[in-house]
Every structure is written in structure tokens, then in C-alpha cells.
Symmetry: C2
Subunit: 347 residues, 2 copies
């Protein structure tokens, strides 16, 4: 905001626990009656990509809103930093108010940024401006998202800072990137750099519709390139075209990948060297907004992995972070995660 141009942030040189790459988005949060989802033909609980025209129709249909930085992988690395870990982020914003909001909030979270910055007023309308995600929260705290990627849709391999990725313990990628050809190439490039530098690769499947769109690509990626896979139950079922959770977990076990699948109020299940292990959800005092629950679970899990915890404790830490974020509006932590983890003997 204001008139100072958005400055690209300089780079450090120390190792980083996690480097995330994803869509740099500002969330536009609005409470809506169920009827609005029907009127707008949005599928409850899912994320749909929308063009500018539809984005404006949606914005016009919702009530007064709140703007807060979002983006799946961006949320996750902000959570890692909130836990005391070191984190970096790769993405693309425009030099506009929302781009400044995104950059400020990431930097203020302690994340080392390497975001490409596009001029505010150039390029065709469809890919101009910082991306935004309309997050429609219904009274049951479920969130339904419609995302206009804006300039984030132009993220490409040239935007991948190899030095930054090379410093990562874990490179964390959101499946949403697979929706755009150039972002897909950026993901492939980042994975290559990670492999060349002995970084682990973690992938979030992001959304069940996203899995439907890219099932075979995701399977190939999981089998060939991924060390840690995050998903929820529905995404896991669709990835393995399984009819039951047991079947899906059995298929997951055969991949040899460490899989952490969130199960909503039932907690999560971890599939690694051993068979599936279920981990209870952490108690949440009140559920206000489920946005960011999966992202924050990944924060806790990744922090745990990069700090010597076994996968079960990683899942417990993930559950703790998810429970915090669903207790308030917005997808990033607002409370002292380190203190909460200490109470549970996890930090």
C-alpha cells in the first residue's frame, strides 16, 4: 500500500528448514449464507479457479469482507516460522496494494521471501494484479474458495531462485501449482534443484478437484520425486482411485513415501515405514473457520521433521497447529504456537 515501490527482498545464506513454493494470494474472507454458494454454483469445501469476470461476480455477491494474506504453501511456511523454524517462500505478486500486503505479512512472519514482482498495470487484464482467493465461510465454519490467480498464473521456471531452494532441508510444493503450465514447469525445475542438492521434496495435494484434474501427473510425481505427501481423506481416495480409506492407505503404503493424511475431526493418519498409524486431532475450543487447517497441519509436521521428531510426533504437532487456526478467522496462526507446542512436550 502507499506509494513506495515494492522492493524485492534480499537473500540470506544460512540453511532453511523449509522452502515453500506456491500461489501468492490475499484471501478475501466473508461469511455467507449457504444460499450464496448455490447462487454462485460453488462446490462446498472445494477450491475453484475463476477468471476475472467470475471473480468480480463473486466479490459483488458477498457482504463486507476482511482481507488477510493467504496462499496454501505461503500459509504453511508462515506457520513453520511461527513455530521457530526457518523458512523461505517462492511466488509471484504484482506491485499493487495486495502485493504489498502479502510481502509485508510474509516478511513480518519471519519468512525469507523470493517473490517475483510484476508491475501493477501491465499485462493482459486476466493475469494482472496480485492473486486473490475469495474464502466464503458458512455458518458451519466450512470454507469454500474461488481463486483468481492474477499474476500468480504467470509464475514460471525463471522465477525459481536456485540458491534459495538449494538451502532448503525440505522443498514444499502445493498441488495447486499444477493447474498452470508455466507454474508446473517451475515446480519441475524446483524439484530438480532440490534433488541436485539433497533436499527432500514434500507435496500437498491441495484439493480434491485439483487431484481429479491431475491424477496421473500427481501419481507419477509421488512415485518419482516426492518424499513426503500431505493430503486429506478425499484427496487420498481420489489419488489412488480407492473405494475405502483402508484401500487408499494400503496403496499409499506401497509408494514408500511418508504420507500424512488429515481426517478432519478424526485427526490424521501417518503411513511410513510401518503400517498406518492414526493420530488424534488436538482439541479445538471453538471452530470458527476451517481455512488453513491443512496448511497449518503441514507446518507442524514439517517443523517436526526438520527438528528430529518422529512422524507420529510430527502429526501431533500438525494437529496442534490446525486446532489453533480453525479457532479464528483467517488461515495463519494468531497465537503463540511455540508455547502451545511446549505445553505438549513437542517443542
Amino acid at each position: 500500500m502507499g506509494s513506495a515501490p515494492l522492493d524485492v527482498v534480499g537473500m540470506g545464506s544460512a540453511p532453511l528448514d523449509v522452502v515453500g513454493m506456491g500461489n501468492a494470494l490475499v484471501d478475501v474472507l466473508a461469511g455467507v449464507p449457504d444460499q450464496v454458494l448455490l447462487d454462485l454454483s460453488l462446490e462446498r469445501g472445494s477450491m475453484e479457479l475463476v477468471d476475472l469476470r467470475r471473480a468480480e461476480r463473486i466479490y459483488g455477491a458477498v457482504g463486507p469482507a476482511v482481507e488477510v494474506s493467504g496462499g496454501s504453501a505461503a500459509n504453511t511456511v508462515a506457520g513453520v516460522a511461527a513455530l521457530g523454524g526457518t523458512a523461505g517462500f517462492v511466488g509471484k505478486v504484482a506491485d499493487d496494494d495486495m502485493g504489498k500486503v502479502f510481502v509485508h505479512d510474509m516478511r513480518a512472519s519471519g519468512v525469507e521471501l523470493h517473490v517475483a514482482v510484476a508491475p501493477a498495470e501491465t499485462g493482459e487484464a486476466e493475469v494482472r494484479g496480485t492473486g486473490r482467493s475469495f474464502v466464503l465461510v458458512t455458518v458451519d465454519a466450512e470454507r469454500t474458495m474461488a481463486t483468481h490467480l492474477g499474476v500468480s498464473a504467470t509464475l514460471g521456471p525463471a522465477d525459481v531462485p536456485e540458491e534459495l531452494v538449494a538451502r532448503a532441508g525440505i522443498l514444499y510444493l502445493e498441488g495447486y501449482l499444477w493447474d498452470r503450465p508455466s507454474a508446473k514447469e517451475a515446480m519441475r525445475r524446483a524439484v530438480q534443484v532440490a534433488h541436485e542438492n539433497d533436499c527432500s521434496v514434500a507435496l500437498s495435494l491441495s484439493d480434491s478437484l485439483c487431484v481429479d484434474r491431475h491424477r496421473h501427473d500427481f501419481l507419477a510425481l509421488v512415485l518419482g520425486d516426492v518424499d513426503v505427501l500431505f493430503c486429506n481423506e478425499e484427496e487420498l481416495l481420489r489419488l489412488f482411485a480407492a473405494r475405502s480409506l483402508d484401500d487408499a492407505l494400503s496403496s499409499a503404503g506401497e509408494t514408500g513415501v511418508l504420507v500424512a493424511a488429515t481426517l478432519g475431526p478424526k485427526g490424521s493418519v501417518v503411513v511410513g515405514g510401518r503400517g498406518p498409524v492414526e493420530v488424534e486431532a488436538a482439541p479445538a475450543s471453538e471452530i470458527v473457520d476451517k481455512t488453513g487447517a491443512g496448511d497449518m497441519y503441514a507446518s507442524g509436521f514439517l517443523y517436526g521433521l526438520t527438528h528430529g521428531h518422529d512422524p507420529i510426533d510430527c502429526a501431533r504437532l500438525g494437529s496442534l497447529c490446525a486446532a489453533e487456526v480453525i479457532g479464528h478467522l483467517g488461515a495463519r496462526p494468531q497465537h503463540d504456537l511455540v508455547g502451545m507446542a511446549r505445553v505438549e512436550g513437542l517443542a
Copy 2:
């Protein structure tokens, strides 16, 4: 946000309960430790105008923030609309992301807008861009504000839509406007139009530092042009250079103006035809953020006045609205004010 240009909203023709005029701002809310206020030399609980450089220093010093539409008079008319009243707003934004956020939220609140829209990228840096107010919330829920007016500083008499003001039952002005010569002229022009059309004029003193800056002007305005005066205890004391609340109330009584002074947790006191009458605060379950308490008190009071309530019931309705807004982050109502008012027999 996005790429569509900001459209100026058309005008209706029906009478409006309240038309507000004030700075069109987006609030940037961040929780801060007390030390940050000291580091930034900000006076707790007050509002300070800051230039672009200081605005950027403040933004750089706060953690991840939330953006939400604000502005004192804008909050008040949004509250009037939330109560089921009819309301209009006069102000000035730029054609940037934050301007679009402000316009969207006002329109979605049901307020008839007449905002002047300046191009996003022209004019000198100091008055470019939609205004924003950094709202630093400390752990005691107190808010300290630093406002960069941006383009709102250029609001002038030519921006006053006479037809809109003429339709108002009450013209509501925020004292903050007196800080800029051109906005002061806009206020004078709006008051003149109100007088010519038998609209009442209400004034909020806005802030104790603001009263210090303009004490004599405000006194002249109250004595010559104002029908309803809103203030808090400190502002009332400073306006009348009084040493005690009783003295200030006595001076207020001599003006012949209907004065509603908020007293924080003690409620409010109304001075009208009769001597001062105290009205209790409405119970608040939890105090999260005091931003907007005075603005929402004015919403309830003005709605009451324009719907045939006596001043004491107006104050009760004001207290109810204030209690709602301090229970959550942000300065505009999030709950069903009409339903709350009904429960109390006030709607």
C-alpha cells in the same frame, strides 16, 4: 481489486436517515506488544496523522496484519445500515485495491455511496492512494491509531454531492475532517447544504488530540451549526476546557445542543432539554478490540433519533452497538444488530 476500474456508484432519490461524510480509510489491524507503541512514539488510545514515510515505518514495525474497511463516519453509516436504516456516505478514495475494498464493503453494507475516485497513480506521493489507518491493538484491547490520509486529504467542497446531502435526515460529520483545509471547506459546504434543506447536523469530535488542535473552531461549530454532538469524556473535557465531568456537562447543557458523551465501561451520558442523564453500558461478553466503539455508539444513537426514539433509548441502542463491535476485531458490525435491538425492545 483486480483489473476492472472502480465505478462511481449512481444515486437514488429517496430520503436517507443519515448521510455521513468523512475520511474513506482501510484499517490495517495488527496486535502489538506495548513496547511497539513506545518504539514508534505513538500515544496510547489516540489517533495521529502520519506522513507516508512514517506510515511505512509503522507498517514495517508491525507483524502480520488484517485489512478491513474503516473510517469513523464510514463505520457509523455502515452501522446505521446494519440496523436497517438508510444511509449514504461522502468521501474520497483512489482507484487502487484498497479503494475497491472500501467501495465494495460500503456497498455490500447497503450504504449509498458518493465517493470521489482519484486515479491510482497520479498526484504527489503524499496524497496518492486510498487512505489507511494503522490500528495497533494492545493486549488490553485498547487501539492506537496512526492514519495516513493519502488521497482522502484532498477531499474538498467540490466533492460534496448536494443532492445526496439534501436527502439526509441527519448529516453526520467526523471531526477528523477539520485537520485538512480543503476537507474543512467540504464540511462547511455540507453544513450549508444541510441548513438549506432542513437536515439536522451531527458532529463527532473524533479524538482528544483532534479537539486540542481545533478547540475554538469546534466550539463555534457546536454553538452555530450542530444539533447533535458525539464525544467521549476526554474530548468533552477538552472542548469546554473543564476540570471535571460535571463542569463539562454543565457547559454542554448551556449550548442547547443534544450531547451524547461516551464514558467507556461506565456507559454514556446524554445532555438535552433536561439535565444530564446517565445510561449504562450494554454488557460485553469479551472485549477484543475497542476500535469502532464510539462510531457504533453513534450508529445506534442516530438510527434511534431517525426512528422516533427518545434520546435515552437512542443511547441504549448506541451502547448495544458499541458492545457488539468491541467483541471482535474490526470497527464494523459482524452480528445481527437488528435482532439484538429487538431483544432489548429497541427496534
